[in-house]
């Protein structure tokens, strides 16, 4: 597949590996922000290629895992209402809320459907005027333009049976939360390439300046990540703190203005609760007043619904008997009540969970 397979070339990976080893003289800790980047690192064994002095910390850039428990509960509540079709991205349906997940809600009789795009959900609404179609709008800024487009189209075409449960989160406030923590160990970032393709680099340049950390706006293929790492390590070795665009084929410094306009038309910035972290100011997007008629929380009377979120990590689930210890990949090793693991585990369909499950064996 063009513009994909070329960036999975083993020979170039080896050249990058050598270049990184050559430039690195001191230990450094980098964070890759996006879950997709984490997935590539584990899938291609990129961490195995790095010299021992470079530590990769996996960031919170997986909207699936940081979506607040109460939002999942709201989605489940909505799905259970008669005459409602709840549409969701596939990744969300197995993420547990406080009691259940969307898949169980479907088993219990809710009409839950997996879609590839919010525009598919909108089409479903158009084709089924008697059903109230709700789209579970999770995601970072990458997904916001698609959600914004669906909302604006709905308004223009009077598709009144369509609404959205908006759960958007924003990356920069999360990065600031990490950087301003007294226990922060992250010295450089692989910034999320597709988020920046939409939003541009300005917010990241502000963060780089404020906290004096270098960043490479990085793509998602293995060679992208290796180049991003080389760029960051080079900057760290040279004492620079710039934002460099590694993902030059997809990212402009100003981002995608048309996409930003769509977002600005529909969304406002609000504080948002992140699963396991709590509320981060200005870290979420919600529908503006102008589009309030499409806000599912209002339409279904769920605005004040709040859940006492348990912050126990997976070992808590083990102790409750919901999970056997051996099924938890990191139980007793890296995942304990004192050192819970992060976002990677949710992509248990693929390399991440397997990696953690078996790492000690290999």
């Amino acid at each position: 597949m063009r513009f994909m397979n070329e960036y999975r070339d083993g020979a170039y990976a080896e050249r990058y590996r050598k270049a990184i080893a050559k430039v690195q003289t001191k230990p450094w800790t980098l964070m890759e922000v996006c879950g997709g980047q984490t997935h590539a690192i584990l899938k291609y064994g990129i961490d195995q290629l790095l010299p021992p002095g470079i530590t990769l910390v996996h960031g919170p850039g997986c909207p699936v895992c940081v979506t607040a428990v109460e939002l999942i509960d709201k989605a489940i509540e909505i799905a259970a209402r008669p005459g409602v079709t709840l549409c969701s991205f596939g990744d969300m349906v197995r993420v547990p809320g406080s009691r259940n997940d969307l898949q169980a809600a479907k088993a219990a009789g809710g009409d839950v459907r997996i879609v590839y795009s919010p525009l598919d959900a909108l089409r479903l609404a158009q084709e089924n005027p008697k059903k109230r179609v709700v789209f579970f709008g999770v995601g970072f800024e990458t997904t916001a333009p698609a959600n914004a487009t669906a909302i604006i189209q709905a308004k223009q075409r009077n598709i009144n049976n369509f609404s959205m449960l908006v759960a958007h989160v924003r990356v920069p406030p999360a990065m600031e939360a990490i950087l301003s923590s007294p226990n922060n160990v992250v010295q450089g970032f692989l910034a999320p390439g597709h988020v920046c393709a939409v939003m541009g680099c300005a917010e990241y340049e502000d963060i780089a300046r404020k906290y004096k950390v270098p960043m490479a706006v990085t793509g998602f293929e293995p060679l992208d990540i290796l180049q991003g790492i080389h760029i960051c390590i080079t900057q760290l070795e040279q004492g620079r703190t710039d934002v460099a665009i590694q993902y030059a084929r997809g990212v402009l410094r100003e981002g995608n203005i048309a996409a930003q306009r769509l977002m600005q038309e529909v969304f406002t910035v609000i504080p948002r609760k992140w699963r396991g972290i709590g509320e981060i100011p200005e870290s979420g997007l919600a529908l503006s007043e102008r589009y309030a008629e499409f806000d599912a929380e209002r339409l279904f009377g769920l605005v004040d619904y709040s859940v006492e979120e348990s912050t126990e990590c997976i070992s808590g689930l083990v102790l409750q008997g919901n999970k056997k210890p051996v099924e938890c990949p990191a139980f007793g090793t890296r995942c304990t009540p004192e050192t819970p693991l992060g976002a990677t585990m949710v992509s248990s369909e693929g390399a991440c969970a397997a990696y953690y499950r078996y790492r000690n064996i290999s």
Partner: protein, 99 residues
């Protein structure tokens, strides 16, 4: 979920930019994609698609940068004299950097 996949725009339909769609070819699989965020999209271009919407166009020239960077590193290596110790700070290609 930042799954953004590059595909080739093979057809465009729709007058209103908000409702304009394109048929995008992903190695032989074709999907209808919203072009609301790329109002000046042209047939034949590559776009990066996420959740059914093209979020950015793919710059085919910049696409080579991942490879060119290594060549540039090698060139700088050769041009820079190397003392025994300490390890001199290597230069890196500057065109991708911003202040």
């Amino acid at each position: 979920m930042c799954l953004g996949v590059p595909g080739k725009l093979i057809e465009i339909a729709g007058e209103d930019p908000l409702f304009r769609v394109g048929r995008v070819d992903f190695a032989g699989v074709i999907r209808e994609v919203s072009l609301a965020a790329i109002p000046d999209a042209r047939v034949g271009e590559y776009v990066i698609v996420h959740a059914g919407l093209a979020i950015s166009r793919l710059d085919e020239e910049e696409a080579q940068e991942v490879f060119g960077y290594l060549d540039e590193l090698a060139r700088i290596e050769e041009a820079t004299p190397r003392p025994e110790a300490p390890n001199p700070k290597p230069q890196t290609p500057n065109h991708a950097f911003h202040e």
